[in-house]
Amino acid sequence: MFRRYFLPRFIQYLVVLIVGMNMIFFIPRLMPSDPIESRLSQMTAQGQYLDPAAMEGLRESLAELYGLEGSMFEQYAAYWKRLFSGDLGPSFSQFPTPVVELLKSSLPWTVGLLTVNLLLSWIIGTILGAVTAFYPDSKLTKVIEILAMGIRPIPYYIMALALVILFAFVFPIFPMAGGYSMGTKIGFNSRFILDLLRHAFLPLMSLVILGIGGWFLQMRNVASNIVEEGYVEYAEASGLSKTKIILHYIIPNAIMPQLTGLAINIGFIFGGALITEIVFSYPGIGSLLYNAIIAEDYNLIMGINIFSIVAVSTAMFIVDMIYPLLDPRIRYQ
C-alpha cells in the first residue's frame, strides 16, 4: 500500500513543486525584457532625474530586491534558500510589509468565497444531474441541458461583468464591489454578517452559475447509464417512490466521479478565483494580484505565484492521501 500508492504520489508532489518553482525562477530570467531596466526607464520616463551614480545605486538595490544579483547559479541557490525559510521578500507597493503578511490577510476571503461556491455548485449540479437523468424526456430536462451547455464555456470575466451590469447597475440590488461596506466594523454581529453576505452574493453567483454546468453534465452522463441498469428498472417496477429511487439507487451509484472531482477542486480553492475577485474588487488573493500588476509589484506577483503553486499542490497531495479512505476500490488494493 505504502509503496504502491503513497510513495508515487509523494514523488509526484515533489516533482510538481520542483517544476513549478523552477518555472517561476526561469521564466522572468528568460524573458527578453529586464525588469530592472524597465523599472528604471519607467522612473526616468515619469520625469525623475537621476544622476549616473544614483542610477547605479538604484540598479544595485533593485537587483538585490528582485533577487537578481550575482551569477545565475548564486541567484538560484539564494532563491531556494529564501523559499525554504518561507521568506518571499517585501512588497514594493506597500513597502516594507512582507508579501507573506499580505497573503495571510487576503487568504480567508478567497478560501471562504471559494469553499461556499464549491459546495453549492457541487450539490446543485449533482442533484440536477441525477434528477434529469431520471427524467430524460421531460421538457424541463431539455431546457436545463441547453442552459448548462450554453453557459459552461462562457469566460468568468464575461459572466461576472454581465452580472454586475444587471444586478448592480440596471437593477441596483447588490453592491458593485468590495467585501464589506466602508465604515462597517469587522466583528461577529448580525449587521456585519448581513453586510458580508450582501457583498458576497454577486461574486458567489457568478462562480456558482458557471460551476454548476460542469458538475451537472458529468453527473448526468454517469447517471443516465445507471438509470438503464436492471436494478433501477426493478425498483421502479416494485413501485418505490421516485424520490427514493433517485436518493437510494441513482445518486449513490453515480457519485464516485463526482467525489473525485470534488476532491481535485478542493485543491484549486487555494489558487483563487482571480478574475471574479478582480471584477468585484473582492479583497482576496485575486485582488491582491491585480493591485500588484497595476503597481508593477514584481515581488508580490512572484510571491502569489509561489504561494498558489505550493498551496494547490499541497492541498492536492493531502486530498490524495485521504482519498483512499473514501474509495473502496483503492482501499482494498
Binding site: V16, P35, M149, P155, Y157, F169, G271
Partner: protein, 286 residues
C-alpha cells in the same frame, strides 16, 4: 473529414447552429480587410454616436467605428486562437506520441512533467509572463505564449488514445505483415487520432479566446490591437456602462459569448460523433 462534417450538419442541430455561426464569423473576419479606416488610430470618425445607417453599431468615445473595430476584433481573436492552438497542438502531439509509443522511462518522465503542468495554477504564471512582456505582446507573441501553456491535458489525452489503438488487432496485423513502424503510425494510427485532435483544437481555441479577454481586461496585452478583449478593456476604461453606451460595451460581450458557445457546440458534437454508441443514436434522429 468532409463526410463527417456533412453527416454532422445533417443530423445534429447543435452542430448546424455552431457551424453556421462560425462560417458567419469567418466571413466577418474577411470583411474586416476592407475596413475604410485604420483601426488602431483614434479619432477617425465623430465620437459617441448611436447606431445609424452610416455607423451600424455607432462610434465610441475614442472616435472609432464600432462595427469595423468589431470585425477586426473577430479576425484577431480567431487568429490568436489558431496560432495558440497550432503551437500547443504541436507540443501535445509530439509529447503524446512519444510517451505513447516509447513507453517505459520516457513515458514516465513526460507524463510526470505533463501532470505538473496540469496541477500548477497556470493563470498567475501567465500574468507573471505578460506583466513582464506587456507592451510587446502582439497577437503572435501572445499566441505562442498561450500555446506554450495550453498543451498538457491534450498530451495526456492523445497518449491514452495511442495506448489503446496500439493494442488493437489491426496494429498487430500491420506489424505481422511487415509494415515499418513509421508507416504504421502515419497510415494506420494517424487517421484515428485526427478527429480527436480536431475536437481538442476547438476546445483550445475556446480557452485561448477566454484567456485573451481576461489578460486584456487586466491591461496585459498590446491594447491598440483590436481584439475582443481590448474592445472590452477600452469600453471599461471609458465607463461605457455608466454612460449607458450599450452598443459599445455589449458588442464585444455578445460577440464573445456567441463565438464561444458556437465553438463549444461544434466540439461537443464532434466528440459525440467520435463515440460510436452516441453516433448511432444521433443519426437515428434524436
Amino acid at each position: 473529414m468532409v463526410r463527417a462534417i456533412k453527416d454532422l450538419f445533417r443530423h445534429d442541430k447543435k452542430f448546424r447552429f455552431g457551424f453556421s455561426i462560425m462560417v458567419f464569423f469567418i466571413i466577418i473576419s474577411f470583411v474586416s480587410l476592407f475596413s475604410p479606416y485604420d483601426l488602431s488610430t483614434w479619432n477617425v470618425v465623430p465620437r459617441d454616436l448611436s447606431p445609424s445607417l452610416k455607423y451600424p453599431l455607432g462610434t465610441n468615445s475614442m472616435g472609432q467605428d464600432i462595427f469595423w473595430k468589431a470585425t477586426a476584433a473577430v479576425k484577431n481573436s480567431l487568429l490568436l486562437g489558431l496560432i495558440a492552438a497550432l503551437v500547443s497542438r504541436i507540443i501535445a502531439i509530439i509529447l503524446g506520441l512519444l510517451a505513447g509509443y516509447m513507453g517505459g522511462t520516457v513515458d514516465r518522465v513526460i507524463m510526470t512533467i505533463t501532470d505538473s503542468f496540469i496541477i500548477i495554477p497556470l493563470f498567475p504564471l501567465l500574468i507573471l509572463v505578460s506583466s513582464i512582456l506587456r507592451a510587446s505582446l502582439d497577437i503572435f507573441v501572445l499566441g505562442i505564449i498561450l500555446g506554450l501553456f495550453g498543451w498538457a491535458n491534450d498530451a495526456r489525452l492523445l497518449r491514452s488514445q495511442i495506448l489503446s489503438i496500439r493494442e488493437r488487432e489491426f496494429t498487430k496485423t500491420a506489424v505481422l505483415s511487415g509494415m515499418k513502424p513509421t508507416r504504421i503510425i502515419i497510415k494506420e494510427h494517424l487517421p484515428h487520432i485526427i478527429p480527436l485532435i480536431m475536437a481538442t483544437v476547438i476546445n483550445n481555441i475556446v480557452w485561448v479566446i477566454g484567456m485573451e479577454v481576461t489578460l486584456s481586461v487586466l491591461g496585459l496585452s498590446s491594447l491598440n490591437t483590436p481584439t475582443i478583449g481590448t474592445m472590452i478593456y477600452w469600453a471599461q476604461q471609458y465607463q461605457a456602462v455608466f454612460l449607458e453606451m450599450w452598443h459599445w460595451i455589449l458588442t464585444p460581450i455578445v460577440i464573445c459569448v456567441v463565438l464561444i458557445i458556437s465553438l463549444y457546440f461544434i466540439s461537443t458534437s464532434i466528440s459525440t460523433y467520435l463515440d460510436p454508441r452516441t453516433r448511432v443514436r444521433m443519426i437515428k434522429g434524436e
